[in-house]
């Protein structure tokens, strides 16, 4: 088994889409536990992420790896349900691009990295009003809220979302991190968020730190 796991990890690392999907189907047919297959896939995406951080891989490669992972999960999810296995998430994250802002390339990268690191991520998409964030955080009992924004006019909706979390009494139990091109420490202070992340790797490190997981 270790062998095919390695093969799968390598196939995703080298972005061989067909091969990954074939391997996943083969292993499912052979009766292997879906969680083990997922672990091998995650390992692959995580290695792509590491190469990305080292500057050996580029954004398009990370996005392709995320896509392959997502496609493989289409086959894996029914099997997961049948086997009643639950993957143990490191924590629950709600994320979205704030009201008025439609940029999502960076946010989607952050999601790929968070998921492959083992977080359960609820993506609210783009142009998300403050109250929608609040409702989702409450509904899924999220540990962390991620706000993405690439426009300077997004700083106010970010600030409003932080305030809405306060008003809803959720501010204490759910940390808030912001990110996206023009955000920096100054913007963090302005919005009242807890953290600001410069890139997807940092988003994962911040999420782990915020939740106290290694």
């Amino acid at each position: 088994m270790a062998d095919t796991s390695e093969q799968l990890t390598r196939a995703i690392l080298e972005l061989r889409e067909e091969e990954v999907l074939q391997l996943v189907r083969q292993r499912l047919a052979a009766g292997e536990a879906p969680l083990e297959i997922i672990a091998a896939l995650r390992q692959g995406v995580a290695e792509v992420g590491q190469k990305f951080e080292k500057g050996e891989y580029f954004l398009t490669e990370l996005i392709m790896a995320g896509k392959i992972f997502k496609e493989a999960m289409v086959d894996l999810e029914p099997a997961l349900e049948r086997s009643r296995q639950q993957s143990q998430a490191l924590g629950t994250v709600v994320i979205g691009t704030v009201k008025g802002d439609l940029h999502d390339i960076g946010k989607n990268i952050v999601i790929i990295m968070l998921r492959s690191a083992g977080f359960l991520v609820h993506d609210l998409g783009i142009d998300v009003p403050p109250q929608t964030f609040v409702n989702k955080v409450r509904e899924v009992n999220a540990d962390l809220l991620g706000l993405s924004g690439l426009l300077t006019v997004s700083f106010n909706p970010m600030k409003e979302t932080v305030a809405a979390m306060h008003a809803a009494g959720l501010r204490e139990r759910c940390r808030i991190m912001i990110g996206g091109g023009p955000t920096d420490e100054r913007v963090r202070a302005y919005t009242g968020a807890d953290y600001v992340g410069q890139d997807a790797g940092q988003a994962v490190r911040l999420a782990k730190a915020a939740l106290g997981v290694a």
Partner: protein, 372 residues
Amino acid sequence: MVTPKERVLKALNLETPDRVPLVPQLQQFAARYAGITMEEHLFDTEKCAGAFDVTWRGLGGWDAWVMAPRPEGFVNDLRPIPIAQPGRELPPDVMYQVHEKPIMTVDDYERILDVGYKAFLRDYFFRLHPDWQSTTLHERAVLIRDLQKAAIAKYEAQNVPTLVGGIAETPFDEISQMRSFEEFTFDLFRRPDLVERVLRVVTKDITDTALRMAKGAGGLAVWIAGLRSSCAFVSPAQFERFVWPSIQYMVEHIIDAGFYAYLHLDQDWTKNLPYLRSLPRGKCLVHFDGWTDIFKAKEVLRDHMCIMGDVGPTLLTLGSPDEVSQYCRKLIDGLAPGGGFLLGSGCELAPDAKRENVEAMFETCREYGAYS
């Protein structure tokens, strides 16, 4: 008295003018400054021109327009992506919004190869605007040309040049937006040969169209936008295959037609700087948006290509006048020596920039930017 035009031309030609030319890419900020709505700014020719004039006088002028001071809304209509505009799909006083979704399909690649990009676009625009008539596309292009021509001539009469007459994006950026960034990324891995062939066809047609616009409207340069085509997005191998050949082709033809090539480069191009060095000397202008290391760019492109930039959106909106002034001094110290530098905003000057910050930027350039 040195005129703004002389000043800008010297910098473009890698010489040293009397002071660093001030060339902000000032567009939507004028609406905020003059107190008109975004809808008026985008569609009302007279109010738009009035707002630009008020801003020009209020801030004491500058040395060149980047885009001609004309309403941008009509130009947005001719971009091959869905754009929601204020007063139409949006409330009258918000910024326009680009909705990127895969309106172009995989089958369209073959179609472009069959009929050519220009013919393909004519059909494609009906998908975006089902209400258009067969003549609309042409009429809109003529309208924009005439608006640009009038706006450029008006300021040219005061010796203030406009840089951009013709507008293009790299074919990679254009198709990426029509396919949507993610779908196009998958295409690069799943059908690279097809994409490469299509980009070659598109390159020629995009260049033709931009040059036709520039010849009709005037302006010193033709704009080539690279928004998502640097190594902040693609691998060097992908850059060399899907991006760089188009840029080389476009630059060469723009220069042949007697214009400067204006490379408007968003996001981080630091890794791509050595490529720029191989473009013809003294014929290109490169504009960074604050994400590329502009000081590193000076090292690589010194005496080769005029550099413009890069006072960015966060600083102009949340910073203080002191901080803005400090950053402008740093830019002037690092980039002015030896000439070939225009002080400008990072991409478009942030629409919600603080007025006093823009004033600090302009004053610092005028005072601290003198070559003595």
